[in-house]
Amino acid sequence: MINLRDKGAEFWERSNRPVRVLTVFAIMAVVAALPYAGNTFLQTPVAAFDAVLVYPMGMFILMALGLNVVVGKSGMLDLGYVAFFAVGAYTMAILGTRTGLNTWEIMPIGIAAAMFAGVLLAIPTLRLRGDYLAIVTLGFGEIVRVSALNTEAIGGALGIAGVPFPPGLGFEYQLLDQKYFYWTILVMILLVIWVIRRLTVRRPGRAWESIRQDEDAAELMGVSTYKYKIWAFVFGAAIGGGAGVFYASRSMVIAPDNFTLNTSILILACVVFGGMGNIWGVIVGATILGYLPDRFRFLSDARLLLFGLVLVVFMNLRPEGILPRKKREKAIVKKGSGASL
């Protein structure tokens, strides 16, 4: 089987700067033009294509990138990632309906709230490893959902309605034409990619990698494993929280049902399906898994069966994901020239 990741990386390495810049801009242009591709074969039969681009696709990519730092980079299995998404969404919904703050003002508050939830979860649980950590995080995800379900002050099972749209920035966010939502989430995704790439090639990335590969050896080589595990969790939580704020503001209504274990599993599936530890793989994985169920909605009940089948077949063909983590004999750091970013 051809290794797409290596082909891409080889192309990148062989190209000079103008070619690289041109490639990036070409890809960006195609991606940004997607909302106008609604009348082609890409069209989703039931939901509007531009809405599908925002949720699930854009949201999934954003969350999968955040979860990838925890699961793919640091090797900690988190089955309750949706909790941070929920914390962000509820922060937006509560503050958006009860105060005069707008989405952009709530964004940092929502991210901070999610990070705080991340610390709360991380401090007692990160002494656990592997399966045990997975079970505890799964429990945490459910605790957050069930708490929301049973707290009448935040709407109980009905959730919160009337969450305001983000204020326009020289344009108006619209329900029927979601391209501005899409472009906003693109900017968020780019920002997250940029930050993750910086961290990956520097000290935190090495610390996370070493923890994933051999936690005891990492600790004995001087890596403060506990600290970096908390950072990975909190960083992932921040991205989940930011996605949650934006999700609530776009959907206008949120309810505990939006934040089930299913979502956590699906985001994890995006990470594993795309290629754990590789941001490009994760993006491809989230794009496909976000898109397919809506594309095949005409099959109605059979669509989830087909979706499951695609997953099973693909994971058998490419057990390490579509674009696996680096396999090549090439350092991410160059001789004496400093990090590549």
């Binding site: 930050v195 910086r198 961290l199 520097r202 000290r203 935190p204 090495r206 610390a207 990698e209 070493s210 590969q213 051999d214 005891d216 050896a217 990492a218 600790e219 004995l220 080589m221 001087g222 890596v223 403060s224 494993t225 950072w231 960083f235 983590r325 680096k326 396999k327 004999e329 090439k330 350092a331 991410i332 750091v333 001789k335 004496g336 400093g338 990090a339 970013l341």
Partner: protein, 258 residues
């Protein structure tokens, strides 16, 4: 060659009912190569695990200079200047050779997550310095031609030497080597002996676990022998070699000797 740099005092550790080490005293002098030998199960690696904080002693203390380090966190002990290699190789296989060593050098870096994220001048400076230092260490150990290879794909002998390089990356005062010559052929052992001497001459103090007697006799300044968790000898290599108690521990005592 006079100052005591590491001092184990009455070190005892019990696992359930088994006393793995019984009141062991050991002094490591600055700049020496001290070999720790003994039959399988004598407690050699346990000594390493106690020094590096993997285990806490049941009683007794480990002093680095004047500072008691038993009970401190493992990464903190590394930062204080003790680095080790592992008997069964434990490299970060998915990282390149160079990255493995840089991960070691990170313990001397001060930049945190936020600094790395924003690419502060200090973060750039430290990254650059770490890469340069890691290259230097690879050259020093003689494996710089493998810098860009993934650790898991390296030949066995290179992996063993990379373990040493990664430990040196942490800028230790004391280097603990756990059977660095395991699985080596005679020529590789000779090369390794030269490297160990070179490291000592560069100003490090070395505590070495090894089974190969010719290697030990060739490079160590002093030999400590453990048997069933007890220290049974502590002397010059030539003296230890002829110590009847040591010979008995290794070969057993003939039935008619007593």
């Amino acid at each position: 060659m006079s100052k005591t740099i590491l001092n184990l005092k009455d070190l005892t550790i019990k696992f359930g009912g088994v006393t793995a080490l019984n009141s062991v005293n050991l002094e490591l002098k600055e700049g020496e190569i001290l070999a720790l030998i003994g039959p399988n199960g004598a407690g050699k690696t346990t000594v390493f695990n106690l020094i590096t904080g993997v285990y806490k002693p049941t009683s007794g203390n480990v002093f680095l200079g004047d500072l008691a380090i038993d009970g401190k966190k493992r990464h903190h002990i590394t930062k204080l200047g003790i680095a080790r290699t592992f008997q069964n190789i434990r490299l970060f296989g998915d990282m390149t050779t160079l990255e493995n060593v840089i991960t070691g050098t990170d313990v001397r870096n001060k930049v945190g997550l936020i600094g790395s994220m924003f690419g502060t001048p200090r973060s750039r400076r430290e990254e650059k310095a770490s890469i340069a230092k890691a290259y230097e260490i690879l050259k020093f150990i003689g494996i710089d031609e493998y810098a860009d290879r993934l650790a898991k794909n390296l030949p066995y002998g290179v992996q063993r030497r990379l373990e040493i390089a990664r430990a040196l990356g942490t800028e230790p005062k004391i280097l603990l080597l756990d059977e660095p010559a395991a699985g080596f052929n005679p020529q590789e052992k000779v090369d390794l002996a030269a490297i160990i001497k070179k490291i000592r001459d560069a100003g490090y103090t070395i505590l070495l676990i090894e089974h190969d007697m010719s290697l030990i006799m060739g490079i160590s300044d002093r030999v400590v022998v453990l048997d069933f968790g007890q220290k049974i000898a502590d002397d010059l290599p030539s003296v230890v070699q002829n110590d009847p108690q040591v010979i008995a521990a290794y070969l057993g005592v003939p039935a008619d000797a007593s």
